[in-house]
Amino acid sequence: MTIKNRAGLWFVIPGIIWVLCFTLFPLLYSLALSFTDKRMGRRNRPGEWIGVQNYSDIFADNRVSEVLEMTLFVIIGGVLVTIVLGTFIAWLFNHDIPGLRAFRAILTLPIFAAPIALGQLGMILFNEQSGPVNHLITGLGGEPVYWLTEPWAARFAVLIVDAWQWTPFVFIIVLAAMQSIPDELYEAARLDTANAWTLFRRITLPLIAPALGTITMLRMVETFKILDIPYTLTGGGPGVSTQTYSYYIYLTGLRNFDMGYASALAYLLVIVAIIITSIFFWRVRARYEVQ
């Protein structure tokens, strides 16, 4: 049944056309917009061709480096924190302890919550006067942190909420990878050492490394999109300190209606996403072939 067969086309064509209309077409549309000066609203301009003007403007735009700082902070920080914590929790759950399954389901709950709601939840938890986070810090003898009014503290607040939501994602994937490691490998190694850390470093880590690579790429691509959490948690503030690159595109294109420039900004992001995605597909391509 895996012969080349025209009948197969009918199964995939409707979906292909859908993607053509609602993914590829908008993408090309925004590429075209990025070479125009289209604006809406008070300074309405229908959009004249201005060549690469928008792209060269990006390099003169001071705001871009500011939002890139926040974006890179969330991406690098988020990937590191979620991978370390998620791997540790997966290691805990990879032990043969009865009753763990129910806990596993509970731990995955944050993944399914709307980020926009988590931003609000964060706003309550990180509230400087009455939030439990500051209460815990002062209870332990620390100084209260100005989570929403001090730039770097606000950045950490966004990072913490994002990491809280996505650590479970790393956890279940790494756990799946760990569970596919045959027990015999550990039994053989235990003859040499009983040290849990040595076992982890010599056996577990090398064997889960491919999964960690996949997670890193998926998380990077997903974190480029981050916007919902800062939107409700900090409103991008204080100042512009928690504005991410995506957030800035959104404000430029749909608050200031400078659509040509926003499209150019977006296209740089598309190029980065395409590079990471190509690496991803190049690594896992065999999975998608028909045997």
């Binding site: 609602f22 993914t23 302890i97 209460h135 995605t277 896992v284």
Partner: protein, 287 residues
């Protein structure tokens, strides 16, 4: 010998105890924000503003927040929830219809341009930054008279969640033995009949799981909804994003509303545990 064994047992017990402490702590951290929201939703503003670490002591639970959100402001909330439900269900239906068929095709046929290229074609949307297509969608929906309509939002969300449907069903069919389908083909059934009558009925669990994941992501979508809807088609995520009142943030109301937003997907998620790993990694990791 026996002392050695008992010492090892003792060590193991200590190890297990430590592990249980760590596991409980991790679970508490995962649940604490939700618990905090639940408790706050039963608190008057005066109590919510008081600092405490354990939220369930020293207050008299009240129903005022829930009453305000469900009765007084009920109609508006109800409309937004209804929009969210219709949009998410519609998007899920479209994504499953196109996605299951594509998933089956990709699992059972070999295409000349390469199946992996076709898979990348279907998955591309998940990897693209959505802001890149936001402005084109804004202009397109206005042109098509679909701005601020549920139909417009169904199209947008179906596009976003279709990769999950394609991938989960493709993996399911690829793992399924072909014998039954081949037998039906030998008996003279067409490929379409085989898909609809033989393969599809067995795929029930995978399709439900794919549907739940699609529904969740469409329900949670905020960015496009905030731009492409104003009032008529406004879903709940956009409704709750504007929390400020003239007198500042009312914690009780905010908690109540955010719980209404997160509870449906959280409950549904408990039914898809088996499919989470593959579904969320685009098939790159087998779970």
């Amino acid at each position: 010998m026996s002392t050695q064994v008992s010492r090892r047992n003792a060590q193991q017990r200590v190890g297990h105890t430590l592990m249980w402490i760590a596991i409980l702590l991790v679970t508490l951290i995962a649940l604490y924000p939700f618990l905090w929201a639940i408790i706050t939703s039963f608190k008057p503003q005066r109590d919510a503003l008081e600092s405490s670490l354990i939220p369930w002591v020293q207050f008299d639970p009240i129903m005022d927040n829930w009453k305000a959100e469900l009765q007084t402001g009920g109609q508006e909330n109800f409309n937004a929830l209804k929009n969210s439900g219709i949009i998410a269900l519609g998007a899920t239906a479209v994504a499953l219809t196109l996605g299951t068929s594509a998933g089956y095709g990709l699992a059972r046929f070999r295409f000349r341009i390469g199946n992996r290229n076709l898979v990348s074609w279907f998955l591309s949307q998940r990897f693209l930054p959505p802001v890149a297509t936001l402005i084109p969608f804004f202009l397109m929906l206005q042109r098509l008279d679909l701005f601020d309509t549920r139909l417009g939002m169904i199209i947008v969300n179906a596009t976003f969640v279709m990769p999950f449907a394609v991938l989960i069903t493709r993996d399911f069919f690829a793992d399924l033995p072909k014998d039954l389908e081949e037998a039906a083909l030998v008996d003279g059934a067409s490929h379409r009949q085989v898909f609809l009558r033989v393969a599809l009925p067995i795929a029930g669990p995978a399709i439900v799981a794919a549907g739940i994941i699609c529904f969740t992501f469409a329900w949670n979508e905020f960015l496009f909804a905030s731009v492409l809807t104003v009032r008529d088609a406004q879903p709940f995520t956009v409704k709750i994003s504007s929390t400020g009142t003239v007198r500042g943030i009312h914690f009780g109301y905010v908690s109540t509303r955010l719980l209404m937003a997160v509870l449906p997907p959280l409950i549904l998620s408990l039914f898809v545990q088996r499919y989470i790993v593959r579904g969320l990694t685009m098939g790159a990791v087998k779970g």
